[in-house]
Amino acid sequence: MKPIYMDNNATTACDPAVVRAMLPFFTEQFGNASSIHSFGAEVGKALKQAREQVQSLLGAAHDSEIVFTSCGTESDATAILSALKANPERRSIITTVVEHPAILTLCDHLEKEDVTVHRLRVDRRGRIDLDEYKSLLSNRVAIVSAMWANNETGTLFPVEEMAELAHEKGILFHTDAVQAVGKVAIDLKATRIDMLSCSGHKLHAPKGIGVLYLRRNTRFRPLLRGGHQERGRRAGTENSASIVGLGVACELAQQHLETENTTVKALRDRLQRGILARVGNAFANGDMLHRLPNTASIAFEYVEGEGILLLLNKQGIAASSGSACTSGSLEPSHVMRAMGIPYTAAHGTIRFSLSRYNTEEEVDRVIAAVPTIIAQLRKLSPYWNVDGPVENPEQAFQPAYA
């Protein structure tokens, strides 16, 4: 049976058209865009086109606002470190507790260097409190960094509004839009967002290529210094093949933006509804009203995620778990914990993330597979009694820490 891939928030397949566009840049078009000779000139033209394709998807006012980087993580780090360097009198950062580790781990590290980090908390649905946010805005804040869409639950933050509020106080605003680009409509020129991170491999371009959008006239300090590539804002010979691939991927994403919000969304809704109708003691995580169209995060109580993934994998279905057991850490994901999801449900959270390549038939196969898998694992669970959880599960089973 053909495998089913529903882990598109982790990474996506390269679109065949993207691969086709890239191939010549490994062979005849191998030149360095900085060279004077014709080998370089052709590549330079291709980069320019790619920059315009990215500009168009992001709705940036100028193509020079697009800086190519090596990944989403680099874009995030560049944005935050630049804001601190360029505004040395401002020593604090506002971010949220549910950011990707690309932001959170960096902030933890900066705290050791005497930067103050405010992490906005979220409620059970993963939403921040705008009043708390407003109360933190001050002239000591160098930058606000809030993700556009959460990678685990798909929850969208009101970043445009947050950027307005930051701008009123003269604070730079950055958004990690790695999960949002290509899935939600973005028109940067109509916003007050100063910087935005994007990563190719989440939108059917290759891994290892990213973008930092940098609004014109934003005070900036580069992370990598060296050659004059990217107008000196990011030194290092351009990854021309991947940049060309990303350009094509952005053009395709723009064409499919509507599909994403109609067809893909309908598939996701069908999947979530189908599973929740057939499995008891399960619920969807995140802000149902403001959510990426492709993501469903479903908590199955009283079972642990890795077991679910192994059994899904046996049936050729790829998803991922909110429990971090699979990633080598024992704690459940910081996103589930921040939302106050109990451990017995957080560990059993599975993220299904779809793409335009998924079909209704695949969705139905997953809906058919999940109930048996959950039942099978619950039969092993000390919290479960034949056809329902034991009475007072948290009291009935209170293991001593081993």
Binding site: L310, L330, T344, A402
Partner: protein
């Protein structure tokens, strides 16, 4: 995904002895829901022969936790309680043809459940006051509390010390920064690796005084005596059982026994004895003596 052995997969996909056990007279609940692994082990023990006639499990946990639970029940069935108590976490891992290093704690949990269930059968209170800490070294599943306790208990100064005593940091190195943070928190500063702290004296030292057998055993006892307060602080204790050339057998009791601290404790004792005697030797748990 994890690199699980065929045997682990097989026990995960077809777990043996799962579900409640009617007439169980020894039950052990261990694990931590926070960490996502918890296990209930149920034993049916024949009161006359103390033979485990049946063993079942219920596990909330990852694939290897379920496989380890299944393996444990297979291993201990038809053993007497005393025989079963000799089963080590390594035995469980070996039965499964090995576990990924990050998942060794699943086998430790199996062993703990066994001890808890036997204590429950015998009407004893089994307690484990191992505090929960953030997992620091993922390669060897060592948490922050354990690292901090070992640093304090042994007056450790450097990254290399911590690795020698706990194994933490001996794998991929990604946790070195976190371990250094703990060292700084405990010691107030970070000592450099070059600090003139000779820990392992050269074995072939020409001036090495020759100890008589009696002196040597006295020395071993004195060294253990000096370590005892630290172990007792953790509600544990150590006694010397046998000295067989380079092999020193000790019995660890109390909280040291069976928990993740055991191998670290043995490692720490070994290091101290090597220093005190100026020779390379091996410290082994008394269970190793029973196995021959």
């Amino acid at each position: 995904m994890w690199d699980y052995s065929e045997k682990v997969r097989e026990h995960f996909f077809n777990p043996r002895n799962s579900g409640p056990l009617a007439g169980a007279n020894g039950i052990g609940d261990v694990g931590s829901i926070k960490c996502g692994d918890a296990l209930r082990l149920m034993l049916k023990v024949n009161p006359d022969s103390e033979v485990i006639e049946d063993a079942h499990f219920q596990t909330f946990g990852c694939g290897s936790a379920i496989a380890s639970s299944s393996a444990l029940t297979e291993i201990i069935k038809s053993k007497t309680l005393d025989e079963a108590l000799q089963v080590s976490n390594q035995d469980i891992a070996d039965f499964l043809d090995g576990l990924p290093p990050e998942k060794m704690h699943c086998s430790v949990m199996g062993r703990e459940a066994l001890h808890a269930a036997v204590a429950n059968y015998r009407g004893e209170v089994w307690s484990d006051d191992h505090k929960e800490g953030d997992l620091v070294c993922k390669c060897f599943a060592i948490d922050a509390v354990m690292i901090e306790q070992t640093i304090r208990g042994n007056n450790l100064k450097t990254m290399a010390d911590v690795t020698n005593y706990t194994k933490a940091g001996g794998g991929c190195s990604s946790c070195h920064e976190k371990i250094e943070d703990i060292l700084i928190a405990v010691n107030g500063r970070l000592y450099s690796e070059e600090a003139p702290q000779k820990r392992t004296p050269p074995v072939e030292s020409p001036v090495k005084p020759q100890l008589t057998n009696y002196q040597r055993i006295r020395k071993i006892e004195e060294t253990l005596e000096a370590l005892r307060p630290m172990l007792q602080r953790d509600h544990g204790d150590v006694t010397l059982v046998e000295v067989d050339g380079k092999k020193i057998y000790v019995a660890l009791t109390g909280a040291c026994q069976g928990c993740q601290m055991e191998s670290a404790t043995l490692g720490g004792i070994q290091q101290k004895l090597i220093e005190a005697l100026g020779e390379l030797l091996q410290v082994l748990p008394v269970a190793a003596l029973a196995h021959g």
